[in-house]
Structures are given as structure tokens and as C-alpha cells.
Subunit: 421 residues, 3 copies
């Protein structure tokens, strides 16, 4: 549980909030590259940290991320024309380049120099790994680009997608770093026990790092040893996990070994854009369209995910099917990610954490909160936040494997926890 | 009219409000029995006094009414599995019995005793007369079960239903104890005058009792005497009325003599669950399906009432038909109860009573308000509220009859006002 | 830009606000005549200055505009029966005449004199020029009827319509008196330059008057001289403009010369009823149904306008078509008025004007704000507002014409700026 005050501190992300200020020190994912498919394509609305923005790709392919509202009379630039290297407001034709400069003001006399005095808010962006990243913090503090391994994987080996979630980002992060729930929430076969159902009370070992923390969820797999899932949490909202790829037990190696993760970008206090990534770890095995389609479908992103708007929402109880819940799956809700969204959204837009009762499997959740609160408080005292430098997590990987009893995962998985791309 | 302050006191029912505290001292209807049709059926959401709850019927048929949110991480237990004598949260499998005990915590080590320390809020329930009743007050103050006659009528002779109303409970109660409006609002035949249209200005006589009050609305029926409708108001939100069953005028006796009433359970400040009951008074005449269907249909509950969600709402002006209003019925709105809901909802979610101008037919309304405000204020001083003890209204009935001029209803109806079941 | 404080002063129009008090000193359009098509027709809801009202036409054809809520128990009189010279509440039959007198109280005893003590709020109305006008200010300050020329034009020569806009009235007025945007927003042919596209930076000359102000937007039309559009702004929310009818260039005279305008009546802080008017200036050329249909269609009022509810809204991005925007029209949004609504609504319900950067073409906008703020502040000191007396703008017209270089529009258009009807 958190005090009411700490809950507010953790969850409020708007302009001038301590947590908003902390988050502004990191690169944040704003859009998928495919959301802006080509030069002069239609602009897209972006909401980050409760700021309304508009993104576009100009004639030369450069990206712009501007205040949504034209500084002249506050018309939405979502309506604007994207043409000849700039976004032109439909009201009076003022035009802005990707840097926020006003490059044309056709309703002013030719000799006017007013346009030189007008700028609009523009945030630096970078396109990297299929994602358009934004930096909304103080310019002099702008860090190097994100250092995740998935960004360096070849495009043939990587897939990214995104989903809109109607709950505060912290609920989403906490769901993502909660390894215990997969024994229950994601048990999609009530009649057959998998490794995660054999031992439903994983022992959590959390280890703070320079970039956040890593932790292992250890399950007793009887004669097969310890089934150990090692996750990475990279500040402020990144999770890395592994589809089980290595271990003492070769027959459990997946056909298509992959690494996976989520990034939870806060839209506002009540909603989150979830970026999902996956990459193949074997150089000779690029991701196939069939594999991607299967993954996205089973994650609950396929059919709902053609647009950002899901069909399974709080308003329709995520289309829970009680007969399926009774006889086939633990939840009766289709799709692994939809199951996650359902429980997270079911807590309300901002969970009242002072009512919680945390147990031994909540260690990672507790560490996340402590780290975020500490970093936000430190920043107010002028202390720079952790995990901003991509070097701190450059060579980090998650892993999911079987250990013989007696082997410590820090030792046993040392090499497997190193990035290869 | 009420002062703004008294209006707030009367209408605000959430946790820690004086009126909420008063209402918690009574048994309140939460659901129909049929909403939980059998052991291990899907749980149902319940909202009472602005608290979010979840109701279920366990494997042994016992009823539970719990806080909607799992005390672990606040996931909604509406999503939970109802299995093996408990409600199991889909997030981490915590399981609660009907008393709110945590009976399983499968994500904790086998030796953990954490679950013994965790309880969730559970409210006592009783199933009685086709209704699931809840008590949300201090345990030591829990009264005996409700004492209404309809609860004791045989199931063959009783019918209960429920409707969702989007207005504060007090508006609903006031509509229900307002006898004068039936001459107007429910005049569904403009071309023929009924007894209620012959005299549209009933004389009201209100008599406070131990359980609330009873009152008569007396209309002049010329040579037939006084047409007198005697209602009962039982604290804090019960109305009993009669379909005209007795009197000096035998040809007016109904084919199927019944007693009827409503219970208005406050969901939150802006909405109310209306429970409707009806029972046959003659032992040899059980209710027939045709009779029930006809009643529910004419009440406006039939077609809209398959689910709780009505088709005729504030948003669509209750589908008022102006041509019907011009030529056939006073309102142009179909269904007696829908007519009630329409006028009550049309006042807004909470009527600004300080703008009213009350007249002589508002005596019962005034008495209701005075009694509720007094009881809420008394409770703050430690004085127990009236009407909590079922004995006070055990043998109470309403009646609707014709008296010869000169007979006082208190005397003339003494026997008819006594319960028979 | 405005200070935050002035922005509040300009835009808040509810009861007891300074701007609401100012607006109450003028006649305001409430409905079209056709909204109340005949005696005893169904009543209509009206919202003006955040007051909820109900309008009706009684048996004798007289108009009533009453508080929506019955003073008895606050039932909505929208549900009422309009019969025998009054509006009769469906709850208890209280009946009110057009002046707000309670003329029947059938639930009180015949001898009761209670009804003589009950009145409801009634506002004076006048039907004039196809519009039902309301006056909501102090009775002793009620001005003469509005003096617009369109009101005096024969019904055969006049057309009025109305549209609901989901933004504050001031945004709408500012859009309507902004002449520069027509070069951009309303450029519906990207491949051919019209007079308004040849010079996109009109020179604005604003001239305060007794009734508000008039101003010219002057565009250089090369050898054809100065293309000059002269607008009238009449306090507090009237715009007159001209379809180009006169000038040195006879071939530009329209087939059907007309005057046009808008009236923006504030519903509440966040929405506005836009009244659109048009009248033919030539006595021998009444408006034809084909002309009206074409005008309304091209304005974006035709198909959406059968009811007040538009199909193109903020929620669906005004159905912007990016391909049309790329290749055919500046906005990709269909309908001139819909284009106006789109930019105005896109600013939010109340634009945060402290973030603006105003230029030389915003002179009329600035004058409007200054005049309104001044008038509201003056009224608080007891100074009566300008433009209340219809004589001040009785003979005023707009005009749109070509001048030879060197002719001042005040001189050159003197006669054309005089009303003829």
C-alpha cells in the first residue's frame, strides 16, 4: 500500500507535477513509425503527459512534434495541411516547420517581420526501431537515444505495435512487472497444468541496478529444477521479458525464440499508450508474418488492434464470457494483453493504493514504486534521475529458463542476460 | 420547499453522510433472488449508498456481498471466478468466502499465514420474498428481518421486479407517496373520467406512526361517498398501496385483488434501484403469468424490463408521443411507472427543492422529508431511528375504498388495514 | 491575447455574471418561428445564458417563454400539455399562461386562492422576421425590437436557419468577424485563385460606431482596384456581411444579390445557437427554393441541418477527408459553415486566449473583445450598453465591392452601406 499522498505523487503526470518532471527527463515513445507512413502524410494527434500535441512527417521525411494548437488563434493543427516542409494551419495559413519555426504567415503584409517573432512549442523526436520517440524535458538534459536491444535488432527480426489503455500508467507498469499473475490471469487452459501452474507462488528476488532493477520469479519445477523468469525493469516504464528460450531443458526451447517487452507511455493521468515489442534472438530466424499474426492475436491485439480503439473495454466488461471462464480459461476474457488490461482497468482510472494488502510476490511492484517516488523527490532536490543514460542498460536482456536446484540465477544466467544484437 | 442545506442533508447518501448513516440502520434490497439464479453462478455488481459491491451465491447456495475490489491489488471481483465456496480473484487467485474471509492465497508460499490476516468487507445478507437484502450498518445494531406482509405471502401469490432510475432516491419516494398525481400523470384515457378524475383535489390526512406514517387521500365521489386511498410509508423508503379491493361498492372489487408497493434503494446520490412488489390477497387466487405480464406491461416494466436498462430515458425524452398526448393519454408516455420515472428524472438528478411551491396535496411529501431529516439529526445525537423494528409495521396494509360520507377512515378501515398473511 | 481574467469575463454568460448581465440587455434570438409551427403545438426546450427554458405557442397563437421547471415540484414543462391557452404540467395539472401566471391548479380545493400567489418566470418574446426573440433583462430596460434590415425584408425575400455549435459564443463571433480566413479556410478550389486568394493579407480598417463597429477588409486586386469587404458588427453578437453585389466591375454582380449575417446566441458557456439569415436585395428577385437549398447545402447546413444536430462534429473530426484536403479544398471539410465550426470547436469549448499571438488581421477581433469587456465593466458602474437602441443600426448594411485605387471606402460606399428595405 501507499499513502494517499504517495499515490498522488506516483500517478499524477501533468505539467509541473513532480512525476511529470521526472518522466520528462527520458525519451518517451510517441507513435509507431507506421502511424506517419510517408512524407506529407496526414498529421496525427499525440497526447503525452497530459500535453496535446500533433506529429507530422514533412516533405523531406523529417519528423515534427508540435503543440496541437496554432499560436495565432489556437486552431487545432490536427486539421492542418501537411505540405512543402511544414504544417499549415487551415484557419489563416500560418505554417510551421518541424522545429516549431513559423515559416509562412500569408495573412500578414509581405514586409511584415512578425513571423520571425512567432514560434510554437516543438519537442525533439527521433525515429528508432519502428518507434517515434519524443523528448519533452530541458534541452540541456536531453539524453542519448534509448539503448534497448530491440532497437538494434534488424527490422526483419522486430515487431512493434501499440494499444490504448484507459488507466494510469503506474497500474500498467505494475501489471507488467508482476510475474505471479501469469499462473492465474493467463491460465488459458484449465485442464492442463503448465510450468507456471505447477508452482503458483514464485519466490521473488529483486536486485536494484543503475537503470532500475532486475528480478527473478522462481518456481519449483520438481525434478526439472527451478523454473526461473528473469525480468528487467528499466526506468521509468520499460519492461523486458523473455519467451522461454534457454535452459537446461532443450525440448522447452521455443521454435522461434524471442525477447519481448512493453513500454507504458503516460497519455494523461487516466490513460496510457502501451507499446509492445518483440524481437527474434536467432540471426537465422527472422520473424515471419504468420508468427507475428499468431502472437498479436493470442495477445488480444490482432482483431481489436487494427485501430487503436479496442472492442473489449471497461464499458462492456471486456466481453467476458462466463461459460468460457467456467470451462476453458481462468478469466473468460480473450487475449493475454486484454486480460492484463481488464484487471488493470477494473481497478479504476487511478487505483486507491492505500487500500491494498501486498504480499511476498509484490516485491517488484514495491521496488518500482519506491524507485519512482525516490527519483521524483530527488529530482526536486536537483539530483538527476537513474536510467537516463542508455549505457546503463545497453547490454541487458531478460531470460526465462530452468535451473538445477542450487544454482544461483545471477551466476547461472550471467551470459544469457547479455544482449547480443 | 427545503433550504439548500436540508436538501443536501436529505439527498446525500454516500459513506459518512448523516443520511447514509441513517439508511445503514435498515435492511436494504440489493438484488432480486433471480439475479443470482444458482450456486456458482456469475457474480453481479451491486451499488448501494455509493459503495461498489459484488454479490454471489456460493457452491452451497450461501449468499455473499463483498467489497467489489480485491483487498490485494484492488482488481474488480466482478471478474472473479465463483467456484468451490468462494469468489476467486482472476489476478492472483486470492479467494474469499461469503463472510469476506480470505480462504486461499495461492501466490503465497504454502507455509504463509498471511491469508489469516486478510479480510475483505462483507455485508450480511438475507434472501427473503424473492429479494436479497443487505445490512450495511453497525453489526450490533442489525435489526430483525423486514416485516412486510408481501414477504410472507406464498411465492405463488407474489411477484417482484426491479428498475433502474436515474435520479436521487428522495425524488422517487416523494413521487411514490404523492397520491394526487394519479388524477393527472396516470390518466391514460382522456375521454373517460375515472374515480380519480372526478375529484382531482384529494384531501390529504397524514398520521405519523411508529414506523413512519400512514395517510389517506380522500376524493369526493358524489353519491358513491368518499373515494379514499390509504397508503403506508414505512421508514426509510417503503411505500404500500392498494389496488382497489374493498369498499361499500362491491362492483368495484377487482377480479384479482392485490397489494402493491415500491422500495427505493439508493445506489448513489444520482440513481436509485426501484424494487416493485405485488401480492394477491385472496388465498384461492394466486397470481397468474398473464396477470403478471399485463401488470408489468401496463406499468412500463415489461418490454423495457428484460434488462435493468430502460429504453425510455431522459436522453430520448422517454419517447414521448405528442399525438398520443394530444388525443389519448395525459402524458403521451407509455407505462404508468415510466410516467413516474419521467417526471422524477425530468427534475434533474437532485431536484433543487428550495425553488418549490408546495400545496395542500403535498402533506405526505412534507411529512416524509421532516421525518427523514429528524431521524438523521437524531441519529447524530445517538437516538436510534424509527421503523427499524419489523414489529412496528408487521400487520400493516394499505387499502383503497369507498366510504359513505361521515365515516372516518381510521375507524371504517380499521380491519382492512390489517395484514392477513 | 487576453489575460486569463479577461477571458473569463468575456466568455462566462450564466446568471449573475457580468457578461450575462450585459447580454440580458439585448433582445436575443431564441428559436425559429417554424420551431413552433402552430397554436398548441408541442413545447420546445430553449437554453439561453445557461438558463433552461421552455417555449410554446398557445391556442391563440401567443408565444410563451417560461422557466423549464414547474414551480410546484420542479417537473419539466417540456413534458407539459399545450392546451387551451396555457401549458399544463403533466404531474399535477398546474397550468401557466404565456405571462407565467398560474391559471389553473386542479389539485387544490375549488376555494383555494393559492394559484393567485404562484407565478413562474416568464420572459417577453416577440416574433419578428421568422425568429422568436426573447428579452431576459430588467423589464424597465427593455429596448425596442431589433432593427436589422433583414427583419423588414418581405418573407418572400428572406431565409433564416439555425445550427448548434459546441463552443463558447465569443469564439463563434470572432470567427464571424474575421475576414482574413476566407482566403484560406473557405478556399474550396485549390486549382483556381479567386479574388480572396490573389491577396491573402487584407488590410483591416475598423471604425467604432454607436452600435458596435464597421470595418473593411481591403485586398489588392491589381488592375481591378481594391477588393473591399465591408462588414457590420452590431452589439453584442450580430454580424452583417454581403455576397458581392456592387462595384466598379459589373460582371461580378451576382445573379441573386443578397445580404447575409449570423447571430450567435449563447446557450451556455460551452455552446451557442447560431442563427443564419439571408435576404435578397432586389425587389423583383425573391429567393427561390433552389437558391436557398444550394446556399444551405454549400454552407454545410443542408443535409446536417434537418435537425439541429450536426453529423460533422468534434468527436468525428468533422469528417475531414484528407484526400480532398490534399487535392481539392484547403480543409477537406465539406460546407463553408462547417469549416467555421470546425476551427472554432477545435480550439476547445473556451479557447485559452492568453496563449494567442494576434496579428494585423485580428483588428476586428480585438475591437470586439475590447468593446464587450468595456460594456460589461461599464454596466457594472451603471452605464447603459451601446447598440441596444435599434435606431443606431436601423439603416446599416454591409457591402462587398471593387474600388478604383485612391477611393476611400467610407466615401465610395456611402450609399451602398444604407439599408433599402
Amino acid at each position: 500500500m501507499l499513502s494517499h499522498e504517495d499515490n498522488e505523487l506516483l500517478t499524477r503526470v501533468g505539467p509541473a507535477t513532480p512525476m511529470g518532471n521526472l518522466l520528462r527527463r527520458y525519451w518517451m515513445p510517441a507513435l509507431l513509425s507506421e502511424d506517419l507512413p510517408g512524407p506529407d502524410c496526414p498529421p496525427k494527434r499525440v497526447k503525452l503527459l497530459d500535453e496535446e500535441l500533433v506529429a507530422f512527417r514533412d516533405t523531406d521525411g523529417r519528423l515534427g512534434l508540435l503543440d496541437e494548437y496554432c499560436p495565432h488563434r489556437l486552431t487545432s493543427l490536427f486539421l492542418a495541411r501537411n505540405e512543402e516542409c511544414g504544417l499549415r494551419c487551415v484557419y489563416h495559413g500560418w505554417k510551421f516547420d518541424v522545429e516549431g519555426n513559423c515559416v509562412d504567415m500569408p495573412n500578414e503584409p509581405a514586409e511584415s517581420r512578425f513571423k520571425e517573432k512567432v514560434r510554437t512549442q516543438s519537442y525533439p523526436t527521433e525515429e528508432y526501431g519502428g518507434i517515434i520517440w519524443a523528448y519533452m524535458g530541458p534541452p540541456e538534459k536531453k539524453p542519448e537515444l534509448p539503448g534497448h536491444e530491440f532497437l538494434r535488432a534488424p527490422a526483419t527480426h522486430r515487431f512493434v505495435s501499440k494499444t490504448l489503455e484507459f488507466a494510469n500508467y503506474a497500474q500498467a507498469v505494475e501489471g507488467g512487472i508482476d510475474t505471479a499473475h501469469s499462473s492465474f490471469l493467463h491460465n488459458n487452459n484449465l485442464t492442463q497444468k503448465g510450468l507456471r501452474q505447477l508452482d503458483t507462488a514464485p519466490r521473488l528476488e529483486v536486485e536494484p541496478t543503475d537503470y532500475g532493477f532486475r528480478y527473478a520469479g522462481i518456481r519449483n519445477a520438481a525434478e526439472r529444477g527451478n523454473y526461473t523468469r528473469i525480468y528487467q525493469f528499466v526506468m521509468p516504464f520499460h519492461q523486458f521479458r523473455s519467451a522461454r528460450v534457454e535452459g537446461v531443458d532443450p525440448q522447452h526451447r521455443y521454435e522461434m525464440p524471442t525477447m519481448r517487452g512493453h513500454i507504458w507511455a503516460p497519455r494523461d493521468d487516466h490513460s496510457t499508450t502501451v507499446f509492445n515489442w518483440i524481437f527474434a534472438v536467432d540471426e537465422d530466424k527472422p520473424l515471419t508474418p504468420e508468427f507475428i499474426e499468431r502472437q498479436e492475436g493470442s495477445a488480444g491485439r490482432g482483431p481489436d488492434g487494427e485501430s487503436e480503439i479496442r472492442q473489449r473495454t471497461r464499458e462492456n466488461d471486456w466481453l467476458i464470457d462466463r461459460e468460457v471462464q467456467r470451462s476453458k480459461t481462468f478469466t473468460g476474457i480473450q487475449g493475454v494483453n486484454t486480460q492484463d488490461l481488464a484487471v488493470q482497468e477494473s481497478m479504476g482510472y487511478i487505483a486507491p493504493r492505500w487500500r491494498e494488502h501486498l504480499g511476498s510476490t509484490d516485491k517488484a511492484v514495491i521496488t518500482f514504486r519506491r524507485m519512482m517516488l525516490q527519483a521524483a523527490r530527488d529530482l526536486e532536490k536537483g539530483i538527476d534521475p537513474p536510467g537516463v543514460d542508455p549505457d546503463t542498460y545497453w547490454d541487458v536482456r531478460a531470460v526465462d529458463l530452468l535451473f538445477p536446484e542450487g544454482v544461483d540465477w545471477r551466476e547461472g544466467a550471467r551470459d544469457l542476460l547479455l544482449a547480443r544484437w
